[in-house]
Amino acid sequence: MNDNIADLVDSRTGRQSRSIYASEDIYRQELERIFGRCWLFLVHTSQIPKPGDYFRTFMGEDDVIVIRQKDGSIKAFLNSCTHRGNRICRADRGNARAFTCNYHGWSFSPDGALAGVPLESEAYFGELDRTKFGLIPVTKVAEYKGLVFGCWDANSPSLDDYLGDAKFFLDVWLDAMPGGSALLGETQKMVLGTNWKLPVENVCGDGYHLGWAHAGAMAAVQSMDLTGLSVGNSGVDLDGGLSVAGMNGHMVLSALDGVSGYAFYPDPKPILEYLEANRQTVIDRLGEVRGRQVWGAQVNITIFPNLQLLPGLNWFRVYHPKGPTQIEQWTWAMAENDMPEAVKAQILENQCLTFGLAGLFDNDDGDNLTACTEQSRGWRTAQMDVYTNMALGRSGKREGFPGDIASGLVSEHNQRYFYRRWQEHMMAETWAEVPTYNINSLTDEEAEHA
């Protein structure tokens, strides 16, 4: 299989075999080597604030419940009864003192312990060792400034090391203001007939599609400039943004104007006022580069493999794979806790308008991604390649930023790193074989004074 994987992607030339978007065998290997190995986003702490609060999600195709404990810590378990395997929680979220299986009535406490077994003394003759039948915990659960991740692989690096230099950019949302961050609203769930890698690729680096695929939406709601990108892709300013990669498989697109994140708000005024009122605070906390240029700008952050967040447009999303050619896409609005309530409400409103289930932009992407997947399933198309070969070899260091950086939001630099990381994981038998790299890493001091 590894020889085969080596052939499927060439990050030097920007080539991918279309089979990686449709093959069942490759997908099974992804569940093991990517979703079974990487740190996966589970929940934002704001979504389960109180003891007993729980949130149901997926790690790959494994159904998981994440539960706030009495002591405030967070645990996660497979959503599966240890007796016969039935799903124990059928709700999306809520608060519970116990989870009781529908099948035979086994009940589990929020810490995962098996708390009750009907007819325990009569039918099991008191011989059942309950301590051996607690819910199966996710091997590792860790938090980075409100973002809770889980990982099945005991040999993985720490979450901190896994995120690496992506934290430089994550902090532009998570730690720009002292009050931290929150996700807003119910989960916006959509099923799409696409391979999971295509939407990740679309958002991690593909500024190219914006002015074309979303021309109708841009014409409807654009109120400010975004690096010169325009309806119909008639122009672009490559100096106005960065494509940042080479950070353990995480990628960032960032405009550098400190405001364009709100370019697709029909009325950005209240948010621009918030940005300007707090600009100095953020500069004091994160330094000039991030405080002045990045905070408020359009920023696309991708945490490998399946988490994407866009401070500015303020949507936060995970893609749950459901077979090689299907996903569930889950979206929330994201806000800073220091924002006035009216600004938060506007963000939730505008996120739903632009990237919600009837989102003006979102509704353009689904069919393209689905069709790219379908055009990888034919007898002939499955033998073909596709390309991310724009602006090859035009990347390097940029003062004040970590990462291997190409100029502009329109480049395919980030996608090449995404597929490189995919290949590194797919070829590695164990975590020890997966390379760690944070190219052009900044020292803490450099980051602060950047």
């Binding site: 999306d92 014409a219 409103e349 919600g356 509704n363 379908e374």
Partner: protein
């Protein structure tokens, strides 16, 4: 809630409003979006809220800023959506998708305001998409319709969608 039951609306009103619902569905099916906009009141509110699947006994408080929406439109926003669909740039609608709406379970009820009625209905939307697949969406609707001059105009619509996971890649369509 109402203090006292209101007399049911006259049969002519029930017929006229029911016909308006059918006409509205036909205009939308035929992509006569300007014709549809003309059936809306100037102060129209068009809403579809998000929801989550919860246990009946769940006591979690409401989310701090509410559930969020799929649609929360006034006339200006609906016109903006129509402008986008008419821009010629919405590739997902070209060639056109085959859409057919069936309206049923229509109940026309009196409202406090003399010139208004409340209307419950069910909408089934059949979408045969460019990609060759067919999606069937169902929704419940609670409307207010208002008599203005010789016509009935939609004053508000609250939509409840019967899908916890949207089974379609877009909602370039109105309920």
């Amino acid at each position: 809630m109402l203090d006292r039951p209101l007399a049911p609306p006259p049969v002519e009103v029930i017929v006229a409003v029911t016909q308006a619902l059918h006409r509205e569905a036909r205009l939308l099916d035929n992509e006569d979006l300007d014709g549809w906009l003309a059936m809306l009141g100037k102060d129209v509110s068009y809403r579809l809220e998000l929801k989550s699947r919860r246990f009946r006994a769940d006591r979690s408080p409401p989310l701090p800023l509410g559930p969020g929406v799929i649609f929360n439109e006034d006339l200006g926003r609906l016109k903006m959506r129509v402008d986008r669909l008419k821009s010629g740039f919405v590739w997902a609608e070209d060639p056109p998708n085959y859409i057919r709406r069936a309206v049923s379970n229509v109940e026309v009820l009196a409202n406090q305001a003399d010139n208004e009625v409340r209307v419950h209905s069910v909408l089934v939307m059949h979408r045969n998409r460019i990609d060759g697949t067919t999606r069937l969406l169902t929704a419940g609707r609670t409307d207010r319709w208002r008599s203005e001059g010789s016509c009935w105009l939609l004053a508000s619509r609250d939509i409840v969608l019967d899908h916890s996971v949207m089974p379609d890649s877009n909602l370039n369509a109105f309920f």
